[in-house]
C-alpha cells in the first residue's frame, strides 16, 4: 500500500449519463471531482437537489462506474460494490420478511471472516447500539420509519464495512425523528470510528454532522468549497451545538452558498427554456 495514499481518494471523477431519445444530448452530472478523506472522518456531500452528489457517492460505493477518474479505498482501486462499502438509502430497505434482529443479522450473512456464534453476537451488539432491543422480534413493517432507518444502519454496520455511504437516510423522516437520529448517528460514528460520506441537501443537517462539508455546484457537480466544520465547531457535538454562535455563523455561510447554487440552477433552467 502506498504510504502517501489517503484512506479514500477520489481522483478526477467525471460522469455522463446517456439519455433516451434522438434529440437528447448526454447529460454530464459530475465534472472532474477530486477529494480525499482520512479514516474515521465524517464527510458531508452538500448541494442542490439533482446536482450529482448522490451519483458521486454511488461511484465511491461501486454501484455506478465513472466515465473518467478513479477511486481508491484503503489503497485498493474501487471496481464494484462489496462489503467494504456499506450503504444506507433514503428508501426503507430493511427486509419486511425479517424481524428487526434478523435484519441486522442479515448484515453478517456473507461474512466469511467470522463464525455463526460471533455473527449472533455482532447482531446483538448493533441492535443495542441503535437502541432497538425492545423491538428485536418485531417485523419491520410494524415499527416507525425512524426505527427502520436505524435497522438499516445497524445491518450495514454488522457487515463490517470500511466506510459508510449514506444517501439522505433521514430525508423521509419528520423533524423530531430526524434530529434524534442525527445525534444518534454522531454517537455511532464516534464509537465505530468509521469513515462516513453522508449525502444531503439540508444545510443544518450538514453543519451539525460534518467534520468536513464538500459543497457541490449545480449540475454538472464540481466541488466549489470545502468547509472545515471541525475547525469552527470544536469538541463533541451535542443537542446544544445548534444553538451556539459558531454553528449559527457557519450555517448562514453554507446556506448562502446553497442559495447561490440554487439560483444558478434556476437561471440555467430558465435560459434553456428560452432557447427552446
Amino acid at each position: 500500500m502506498d504510504q502517501d495514499m489517503p484512506f479514500l481518494r477520489v481522483d478526477g471523477v467525471s460522469k455522463t449519463f446517456e439519455t433516451e431519445g434522438p434529440s437528447q444530448a448526454p447529460i454530464q452530472v459530475i465534472d472532474n471531482v477530486s477529494m480525499d478523506l482520512s479514516a474515521g472522518e465524517f464527510a458531508v456531500y452538500l448541494g442542490p437537489s439533482g446536482c450529482g452528489k448522490t451519483t458521486l457517492m454511488r461511484i465511491v460505493g461501486g454501484l455506478e462506474t465513472a466515465n473518467a477518474g478513479e477511486i481508491f479505498l484503503a489503497g485498493r482501486k474501487v471496481t464494484g460494490p462489496d462489503r467494504q462499502k456499506g450503504m444506507v438509502f433514503q428508501a426503507y430497505t430493511s427486509f419486511p420478511w425479517l424481524t428487526v434482529l434478523d435484519n441486522i443479522r442479515f448484515g453478517t450473512k456473507y461474512r466469511d471472516d467470522i463464525g455463526g456464534a460471533e455473527k449472533d453476537e455482532i447482531a446483538r451488539h448493533y441492535l443495542e447500539l441503535v437502541g432497538l432491543q425492545e423491538f428485536a422480534d418485531f417485523y419491520v413493517n410494524r415499527i416507525s420509519g425512524g426505527m427502520r432507518q436505524r435497522v438499516a444502519i445497524a445491518r450495514t454496520l454488522a457487515a463490517g464495512p470500511d466506510i459508510l455511504l449514506m444517501d439522505e437516510p433521514f430525508g423521509a423522516l419528520d423533524a423530531q425523528t430526524r434530529e434524534f437520529l442525527q445525534y444518534q448517528l454522531l454517537e455511532i460514528s464516534r464509537v465505530e470510528k468509521k469513515a462516513v460520506i453522508f449525502v444531503t441537501h439540508d444545510v443544518e443537517e450538514a453543519v451539525f454532522l460534518a467534520d468536513r462539508i464538500f459543497m457541490f455546484s449545480a449540475r454538472p457537480a464540481t466541488i466549489i468549497e470545502v468547509i472545515e466544520v471541525a475547525q469552527h465547531i470544536e469538541g463533541k457535538r451535542t443537542i446544544t451545538t445548534k444553538e451556539t454562535e459558531a454553528f449559527f455563523h457557519l450555517r448562514n455561510h453554507v446556506r448562502d452558498l446553497m442559495r447561490s447554487q440554487a439560483k444558478d440552477l434556476a437561471d440555467a433552467e430558465k435560459s434553456r427554456e428560452i432557447e427552446e
Binding site: 454501484l63 430497505t93 427486509f95 419486511p96 450495514t156
Partner: protein
Amino acid sequence: MNRRSLFAYRGTSSGRSDLLLGACAFIGFITMWSLLSHFEVVPQRFLPLPWKVVEALWYMLTERNFIEDIWISVARVWGAFLLSAVMAIPLGLLMSDYRIFGTLFEPIIDFIRYLPVPALVPLLIIWFGIGESSKIAVLWMGTFFQLVLLITDDAKRVPREFIEIGYTLGARPSQITRNIVLRAMLPSMVDSLRITLGWCWTWIIVAEIVAANSGIGHVIWSMRRFVKTPEVMAGILTVGIIGLVTDQAIRWFHRRYFRYL
C-alpha cells in the same frame, strides 16, 4: 365519518359480516335458480332443481365411482401445474436478472401466450396421442408462458435498493437472487401461482372433453350424450367446489406465512 361501514366509500368491515354477505350471494343465487326451475320458467329438463343436482352428485360419487375421475383430474391439474411452475420460476428469474434472457425470450413468449389453447388441442393430440401426456401438454401450454411473464414481473418489482443492499453486504448475484429477490417476491409469486392454478381447471376440462376416457371433463361430456342435465351440472359444480377450496386454502397459507405484510 364512520369508515367501519359496508356502505362507506372504501370503508372497512368485520370478518363476520364479510362471511355473512358472501353467503347471502350464494343463497340468493340458489333461491333464484330454484324458483326458475320450480315454476318451470326454464324447463326442468334443462334446469333441474338444485336438489336434483346434489342428488346426482351423490349418486355419481357412490354408484359411478366419480371420485376416481375427480382424483384423475386433480392429479392431471397438479402434475401439469407443478411442471409449469418448476420450469417457469427459474426462467422467469433468469429473464428478470439478465437482459440477455429477457430480451431473447420475452417477445416469443408474449406471442405464444396469445395462441388460443383450445386451437392447440388437435395439434397436441397429433403430437402426444390421447394419453396422459397430451393433457399435461394442453395444461402446460395454457399456463407456462403466462406464468413465466408473471414471475418475471414479480421479480422486477423487487426494489432496486434491495439488490444494491445485497451487493454492499457482500452477496454474489446468485445469493442475491436466492436470499433477497426470491424471498421479497414470494408473496406476489404465490398469488401468481394461485391464479395460474385456477386457469388449469379451465384447460383440463377442455382437454378431457376433447380426448379422454376419464376425468371430470370426460364425465360431463358423456352425461351430455344422454341429456342427463343434473349429472352435467354436478360435474361443473364439482370443479367449482374444488376451485373454491383450493383458492381459499392458498389464501389461508398466504395469510399464515406472510404475516409480516
